[in-house]
């Protein structure tokens, strides 16, 4: 903290004087903005405009003003997809993040032997291919012969309809999300934990604090910035979830749309039915939602503080 403040002071003094110094940052950031403007901003603007049209991609677009948005907001399937997506986001934030945090604390314990090996094992899911692993999970979730039901069948219990039941299918997808992302988040948290000064814990031990007290009074507050950083990444990726569900449910988002995410809704209702204007309207609503949520989070995170 102190060092950061010093850095800021010095930078402020160093500013000005050199012409090159003034132009350089623009040159340095220009590749991003050029690529962004051309490949992302322009298509986004086109999409935004398209959301006011009806267009099948081939014939001339027809201006329909807010009709796409009207239908979208009255469609019960969209409401369902939005709810499902919220469930995935909330589960990611409140199950996956705490899980990763606890795991990081365990992996950081000094008494743990061979911790590098375990870390590597926890990280492996991150590096697997989404397409490949979704296929693996489709087999794992198989009702009769899947790995997840096998213990239940072994114990003579009723197997679970992982992909056939409207509630379980969400659980199945959340398990897949957790499996894929916990490892990466754990590594972020581990990095954070390693920077907490040991003295804080020692001092707390002298004061007779318990493990739990140390966790809640020292670990969590010290990790606050990184928890927020991670939660933004998680929020963004979970709101845009598509690949996993698409492959796990054979593109249906079923049963009864119970697993459909908003992006899948966009893809299905928009592209497969060639309602490109409608798809754009869905995307615009999604973008607005994510943008507002993230700005709120960033505000809390303090990214826009002047002196940063």
């Amino acid at each position: 903290m102190v060092q950061a403040a010093m850095t800021r002071g010095r930078e402020a003094r160093a500013g000005g004087g050199f012409q090159q110094h003034k132009l350089a940052p623009y040159a340095f950031i220009s590749p991003f903005y050029v690529l962004f403007a051309f490949f992302f901003l322009a298509p986004s603007v086109i999409a935004l405009v398209l959301s006011l049209f009806r267009w099948d991609g081939i014939n001339d677009p027809r201006f329909v003003l807010g009709r796409n948005y009207g239908r979208l907001l009255s469609d019960k399937v969209f409401a369902q997809a939005a709810t499902n997506t919220a469930v995935y986001a909330i589960a990611s934030l409140f199950i996956v993040i705490p899980l990763a945090l606890v795991l990081a604390v365990l992996l950081n314990a000094k008494s743990l032997r061979f911790s590098n090996v375990w870390r590597a094992m926890y990280f492996t899911p991150v590096v697997t291919s989404t397409v490949a692993i979704s296929l693996v999970f489709q087999i794992l979730y198989n009702q009769d012969t899947g790995l997840l039901n096998a213990p239940l069948i072994y114990l003579g219990l009723e197997p679970i309809y992982w992909l056939g039941d409207r509630s379980w299918v969400k659980v199945a997808i959340i398990i897949l999300i957790a499996w894929r992302s916990t490892g990466l988040l754990t590594i972020y948290f581990l990095a954070g934990l390693q920077s907490i000064p040991e003295e804080l814990y020692e001092a707390a031990s002298i004061d007779g604090a318990s493990m739990l007290q140390k966790f809640f009074r020292i670990t969590i507050p010290m990790l606050r910035p990184i928890i927020l950083f991670v939660s933004i990444i998680v929020l963004l990726s979970s709101i845009q979830i598509f690949d996993e569900i698409h492959i796990l449910t054979n593109g249906s988002g079923g049963p009864a749309n119970a697993s459909m995410s908003v992006v899948q809704y966009l893809y299905e209702r928009g592209y497969t039915r060639l309602r490109l204007g409608f798809a754009s309207a869905v995307g615009t609503v999604l973008f607005a939602t994510v943008f507002i949520l993230s700005l709120l989070q960033l505000q809390w995170y303090g990214v826009f503080r002047k002196e940063d």
Binding site: S30, R67, N142, Q143, T145, G164
Partner: protein, 432 residues
């Protein structure tokens, strides 16, 4: 900012320039014919026929690029939207045909085959034209009859002194007896197309020949509810098993056959070679084919219909003429329709083929030598007609959702139909 603008302008200029460059002219004697499909069996069959067919043009040096392309229809439609090339021949799975009806794409980008088929039109059963019809014109030639039969394991019945049911009442009754041992007769899933298959057998319709949504009409509504209640009865008695849609085509089902807790499936002809045989090689001789059960009051077709892939020709491509010739040779001759059956076991769409001994006389070793063609010959004249509609996909997807709710008992048959009708009317109004 000015710098950025300059760069963008340069990039845009390059873009426009490169787009304006003319495509390289093709050497007349070098022709590359392309085909995209979702099913490798078609690639296999077309490749074999193309080798024979190219002898007709000794002056042309053909290259054939026939491929299975994942998400093929997304890709073709994306290409059309972008003005990119599409393949000369495209296998359009009939469920995706409505996507090509949107905005009249099928008419503006694909060859109208109605007149080209000429006299051959009538040789093919009408029900195999309708899935590829747009405003009364035909744009695709189908790959198989798609008539529905019952695939079953006779040993399960024989061991218990049961016979193969011929009516739905018998079917439920037999199924209930087997259910006591945890054995189901067949399975269903929350799939709109599968529901339409059962509905068509009973003489119901979702869309009429103009593509209008006719489910709300009293007659169709009654039939839809009857069909739902039949399925309900099947599920409750244990005769029919519910399977999640993700597992319908995969090994879970095959495994259930193998373990003897599932007798078989009510499925179209393509089920045999596309799904069953490749996955159940080890179960050769254990299956037979029978007609699907009919409704007891006699108000029903002998079979139903589901699926099909119609091959269409891209009309703006240079090779449209060659593509049509190849398609005609491969699919619109009796001889090759029979060959298609012999090589990839997709049944002919020409009724006359069912008088040929190579269809009715062929005994299939997988079915322990059963002459399966005979079963189809009995029903070929009673295959119901499946009409296309722009809204078919909308219907199938939402119906799938309603079916899932109906199957798990959350809604009654009446409610399910009310819900789907309401949804469809909203969607149709939105599309106005």
């Amino acid at each position: 900012m000015r710098r950025l603008l300059t760069i963008v302008t340069i990039l845009l200029a390059c873009a426009l320039l490169s787009a304006a460059l003319p495509a390289a002219a093709q050497d007349a004697s070098e022709v590359t014919l392309t085909m995209w499909t979702h099913d490798g069996l078609y690639v296999q069959f077309f490749s074999a026929r193309a080798e024979e067919w190219k002898e007709r043009h000794p002056d042309v040096n053909f290259t054939f690029e026939f491929e299975v392309v994942p998400s093929v229809f997304d890709k073709v439609l994306g290409n059309l939207a972008a003005g990119e090339e599409i393949p000369d021949l495209l296998g359009i799975e009939q469920g995706s045909f409505p996507r090509f009806m949107q905005g009249g794409i099928i008419e503006s980008k694909f060859l109208d085959l109605t007149d080209l088929l000429a006299d051959d039109y009538d040789l093919i059963v009408e029900g195999r034209h309708t899935p590829y019809k747009y405003q009364g014109r035909v744009y695709g030639v189908d790959s198989s009859l798609c008539a529905v039969v019952y695939y079953y394991q006779p040993s399960i019945f024989e061991e218990r002194g049961l016979s193969v049911p011929t009516t739905w009442d018998e079917y439920i009754e037999t199924g209930a007896a087997l259910a006591e041992e945890g054995i189901a007769m067949s399975y269903i899933t929350d799939h709109g197309g599968m529901f339409m298959m059962y509905l068509l057998q009973r003489g119901g319709a979702i869309f009429d020949e103009h593509g209008e949504f006719v489910l709300p009409e009293e007659e169709n509504r009654t039939i839809a509810i009857e069909v739902l209640n039949l399925l309900r009865e099947g599920l409750d008695s244990g005769a029919i098993r519910y399977v999640p849609s993700a597992e319908v085509w995969g090994p879970a089902i095959i495994n259930a056959y193998r373990e003897g807790n599932l007798v078989g499936a009510i499925m179209p002809d393509w089920y045999s070679d596309y799904i069953l045989k490749p996955q159940a090689e080890d179960m050769a001789e254990q299956f037979r084919i029978a007609r699907m059960p009919i409704w007891d009051d006699g108000n029903s077709h002998k079979t139903s219909v589901w699926g099909g892939t119609g091959f269409a020709v891209a009309k703006e491509n240079d090779n449209a003429q060659y593509a049509w010739e190849l398609l005609q040779y491969t699919y619109v001759t009796l001889e090759n329709q029979i060959k298609r059956y012999e090589e990839i076991a997709y049944y002919p769409t020409m009724a006359a083929a069912f008088h040929d001994d190579r269809i009715v006389g062929l005994s299939d070793p997988f079915y322990a030598g059963q002459k399966t063609g005979e079963v189809f010959a009995e029903i070929v004249d009673d295959v119901p007609i499946w009409y296309q509609s722009l809204f078919r996909r909308t219907f199938e997807l939402q119906m799938a959702a309603e079916l899932a709710l109906f199957f798990d008992g959350s809604v009654t048959a009446d409610e399910a139909i009310d819900n789907i009708v309401q949804y469809m009317e909203d969607e149709i109004a939105f599309a106005e």
